[in-house]
């Protein structure tokens, strides 16, 4: 009999898991423990509408307090879990120890930290949680100089938001193009151009070696000697799975907590879901770790169902989006291993998609302001529909008809 379930990490996956557990009839004791002070909330707006002041804090929450009360979900917020003891099936929190029959870890990620001299100065921020976003927001005002280190999603989204709010913005990217790990050169170029057109200064091939300032950040120095004056700095150089709690408990970890397609860890009573997991992608036939809302939600559902004894596999085609200025990038699938890349539409018209094929089937798409292709692609990818590559570039043909 499973009488006690504890979910650790009250973020996207944790909130979904308790929801699904109750919805699917789990009637035992259900505890959600999280180290942040707020009710579980969505993170994507933190770099977008929330940062821009277009969305208030209470609109970030997935559910309000009455939901947790009504469904008897015990919330232990502002409570960090410091230890898991699989032998006694217990966890140690800030002030108490709790017993579980099943434990679900939804620990998310931690930001990769800058290590150069000066990295500890005041005014240098990461963006992972609401508290970070509130701090960053306090710096944003017209003509404030923002230097953003890292031209990935978080760097570029915050750059766009800061610029829209009137800041002078510089993005420093170490690689030769922005979003180099997540998008094709064509999409990188497009977004780079959009940022430049809005007055963001994007500098590639620039490695930050030092941050200078007396008590507070004043300038950022790169390896080639170039310097950028800054009133504040945002660092977006990637994230690592938050797996130390799990590895200390002896769970198998390797770039994340290793789980199977049922979200089971190497301990039969412990499950994991979301950004913190290294999991098998059934569709792509290899192990992956993702940082995306969809993956967190779907793995959380899978974990919840399996904890209740239903055998359900996590089998999804990943998807993701990014908003920068008035552009929406919609991504589905994983492009690694493609043997053909076809651009559909015209980037100068600001509506296009990049299609990745492998053995004539679509494996991924990056759609810019092109929701139709994106939605069609999600089905085509999932079904492995063979496509006629010759028809793909023809914008007068719907993507779903390029068969």
């Amino acid at each position: 009999m499973i009488a006690n379930i504890i979910v650790v990490g009250a973020g996207q996956a944790g909130a979904q898991a308790v929801d699904t557990l109750r919805r699917e009839g789990f009637a035992g004791r259900l505890i959600l423990v999280g180290d942040e002070a707020q009710l579980p909330y969505q993170r994507p707006p933190l770099s977008k509408k929330f940062l821009a002041g277009e969305m208030t804090e209470d609109r970030l929450m997935f559910r309000h307090q009455p939901f947790y009360d009504e469904h008897q979900i015990e919330l232990h917020l502002a409570t960090g879990v410091t230890r898991i003891d699989p032998a006694t099936r217990s966890i140690t929190c800030t002030s108490e120890s709790l017993q579980y029959d099943r434990l679900l870890l939804c620990l998310g990620t931690t930001s990769r930290l800058l290590t150069c001299p000066g990295a500890q100065l005041a005014g240098i921020h990461y963006l992972r949680c609401l508290a970070d976003a509130i701090q960053i927001r306090s710096h944003i005002k017209p003509a404030a100089r923002a230097v953003i280190i890292g031209g990935g999603y978080i760097g570029l989204e915050t750059a766009a938001t800061c610029r829209t709010m009137g800041c002078e913005v510089t993005v420093l990217e170490m690689a030769d193009r922005v979003m180099n790990r997540v998008a094709s050169p064509c999409v990188s170029q497009y977004f780079s151009d959009r940022h430049s057109a809005h007055g963001v200064n994007i500098v590639c091939n620039s490695r930050v070696v030092q941050i200078e300032g007396l008590n507070q950040v004043e300038r950022v120095v790169c390896a080639d000697g170039s310097q950028y004056d800054a009133d504040f700095v945002i660092v977006g150089i990637g994230a690592m799975a938050a797996s130390s709690l799990a590895s200390a408990a002896g769970l198998n970890c390797d770039n994340g907590i290793v789980v199977d397609e049922f979200c089971r860890t190497s301990d039969p009573h412990i499950y994991a879901a979301g950004d913190c997991t290294n999991h098998p992608s059934i569709h792509y036939g290899r192990r992956i770790r993702l940082e995306s809302v969809d993956n967190a939600v779907e793995q959380a559902k899978t974990a919840a169902l399996n904890m209740l004894g239903r055998e359900v596999k996590h089998d999804r085609v990943p998807w993701f989006w990014s908003d920068q200025f008035d552009n929406k990038l919609l991504i589905a699938g994983l492009s690694d291993g493609h043997d053909e890349l076809i651009v559909r539409g015209d980037p100068t018209q600001r509506v296009f998609s990049v299609c990745y094929l492998k053995e004539h089937a679509l494996i991924a798409i990056e759609a810019v302001n092109q929701p139709k292709d994106y939605m069609a692609a999600r089905k085509l990818i999932a079904d492995r529909t063979p496509l006629d590559a010759g028809k793909i570039p023809r914008i007068d043909t719907l993507l779903k008809e390029a068969v």
Partner: protein
């Protein structure tokens, strides 16, 4: 406070909504099943799809391109399909009726 009616295969629920937030958020606050809203209102998932009662269609601002494109390949789109995250609730929508599709996505 405007009243909104959510209808699905088994039930009809009338709820009081707060003006200024989206119809999707009203559904979420009231635990309306069947509106998944995975992207949280970013117009990126099409899992907040509803059918608006025909008499209300004219009262709503037209779909923007992004919403239109998402809907065309959503599950069973119809002329009265909308993404609920793209509709802002106001007093003018008092009495609005929407039906939830059998599926989302």
């Amino acid at each position: 406070m405007p009243r909104i009616v959510f209808i699905d295969a088994n039930s009809r629920r009338e709820v009081l909504a707060t003006s200024g937030i989206s119809l999707m958020e009203v559904a979420r606050q009231n635990q309306i099943e069947g509106i998944l809203a995975q992207c949280g209102g970013a117009c990126a998932c099409a899992t907040c799809h509803v059918y608006v009662a025909p008499q209300w269609m004219d009262q709503l601002p037209a779909r923007e391109d992004m919403e239109q494109g998402m809907l065309e390949n959503a599950w069973e789109p119809k002329d009265n399909s909308r993404l609920s995250c793209q509709i802002t609730v106001s007093e003018a929508l008092d009495g609005l009726e929407v039906t939830i599709p059998e599926r989302q996505g």
